[in-house]
Symmetry: none
Subunit: 189 residues, 4 copies
């Protein structure tokens, strides 16, 4: 008993896989259709455009993330612990969902890609937002513009995962803890 969503999600999944493998411009709609096991025309029943398909794929990810990032998180914990907890979850999420990570890198040709990725993480991370802002007020965290603090956090995270994915480095729990510790040193007063 196939559900109505079947084809739609097959298309989204195929797109995710292929774009993370070959990039946006290396992924023709015909290839997506083939991988998804549907006809080309079918793509256009569910998405107006190739572009809309990409956006839809992106939106699809938003939800999953917050859940992941917030898992086990509580605003009651001390600052450092809150920070470490959120960062760990971000690492867990991005490493467990390698395809999504690669896709996000490609999202929109890349110039926007990484910027959007950060926005995404930010938006997914109101927890980060409130953590950092209240940390600044309580003089636990440096008085640096929010967006720069994000660069200090997500820059290293994303870069290290890229290195991990490209095999230059094998991230394990110890190393992740070290990076997170260093990032805390970077932002704390």
């Amino acid at each position: 008993m196939t559900q109505p969503t079947d084809k739609r999600s097959a298309i989204l999944q195929a797109t995710l896989e292929l774009i993370s493998e070959n990039g946006f411009h290396g992924t023709p709609t015909s290839m997506i259709a083939e991988r998804a096991g549907v006809g080309v025309g079918t793509i256009y029943r569910y998405f107006k455009d190739k572009e809309e398909l990409i956006h839809a794929l992106y939106e699809e990810m938003e939800g999953k993330q917050k859940i992941y990032v917030l898992e086990g998180y509580s605003e009651e914990m001390p600052f450092r612990e809150r920070f470490v907890h959120l960062c760990r979850n971000v690492y867990r999420y991005l490493m467990a969902n390698r395809l999504e990570f690669c896709f996000l890198e490609q999202y929109f040709d890349s110039p926007y890609g990484v910027t959007k990725m950060k926005q995404k993480l930010e938006s997914a991370s109101e927890p980060f937002h409130s953590l950092v802002e209240s940390g600044k007020k309580q003089q636990v965290i440096k008085d640096i513009p929010l967006i720069l603090l994000y660069s200090l956090i997500f820059g290293p995270i994303i870069n290290s995962i890229k290195d991990h994915n490209s095999g230059l480095l094998e991230l394990n729990e110890t190393l992740i803890e070290q990076v997170i510790g260093a990032m805390w040193d970077a932002i704390k007063r």
Copy 2:
């Protein structure tokens, strides 16, 4: 009396400009030829491929950098000052050469792009290499794998410049000093 190199570098310059404006896939060879003031066919006298042209452009950039990054640098200075000095130079270089920065972002659709960009900076930065390694030995810098330290340094630098270029942020000397200070806190013991 135009030299044969003239055309070659005109092509490279045109490519740099156009790719940083429109991205790799938004830049047809015909457009490059036009901007460079040469015939389309001429591109293929100097480069086998569009791909090879891109690679050549990339290679072309190495070298210029080291000079920039090392300007006014001396191994005699204290650790922190050496670090700050190198970082300042990197910022200066990347912000003064916006086209090159944009190009590197696009370099091969990005999955490799940013990683390569980091490699590039690393290779341009044996100074960083020796600084960090000797800093580790003298227990001034945290005992973290080199590549992760690079993520802690170049991740934030690249990210903040992206934000700057995209208008999300206006980097000035004060802000740059703040970021560099934070990065030092991240890597120092």
Copy 3:
């Protein structure tokens, strides 16, 4: 209690409307189905083809016309009056049924369209046929082949209505009388 014919005529009506608005090639079957309030598949229950649908629509129109054209007409009237009466009715009919007129213009991209339109009017107009033939016999009407006389009559009528529909001209009773008068001068001895 909807009858089976309901759907068939809903489809025909939708087709008439849409083709006169957007032309044959601007009217996908899906659009017809939507306007008709039926499923796309349903169209193919009643018509083998899109083409057959068009033809059927065309055929459907025959018949309605004769009634219109013959209204108030009598063979007892004098020649000129009979001619004027028929022409007036043709004008009335074509102007009152703008959709049908537009459809006929489009009917098969036009090369056949207008010719068929004339045939249609002719066939609908045995009254014209007998009027003209007996007029020729009685030397009231010029001795010109029937088909050319039709060109002299329907050519101006169709053209002037096109101009009217496209807004180049606003036909009113006076103008119509003038045209009919001129056409009578053209064909009378």
Copy 4:
């Protein structure tokens, strides 16, 4: 020694032939390229669009016509003779250039086609314009709006040629003279 215009005119000629055979929508660019003996891409070197190609073809015709229509014409001749002369030339032109006639019928899906065709004839026929206007002033021609007079003239001409082309009628000099005579009767006082 092939001239630079070669391919351009081959494409225009192929387009003329194919559209008059199959209509605008029945003529894919690939078919045009094949008939013209060029690659598909070549079409787009000379014309931005399929649409622009059509327009270019249309423009191409303008010039030829005036020459044809005005041949042997002089404003010194008496009214009736001037009218007959122009009409004869129009017939000659449209019958000698059957492809162009068919093309014009199709020009833009047809609803505009015939209207544009008339505009074209009108514009090509400032001679008609001045003939008719001065005829009206001198009370030789009926006081009917210009556009209606055009319908009385071009309506029958176009219709009769269509019948001729479709084989319903064989136009010869005698018949043409009869039609022209009748049209004169229609418009003269």
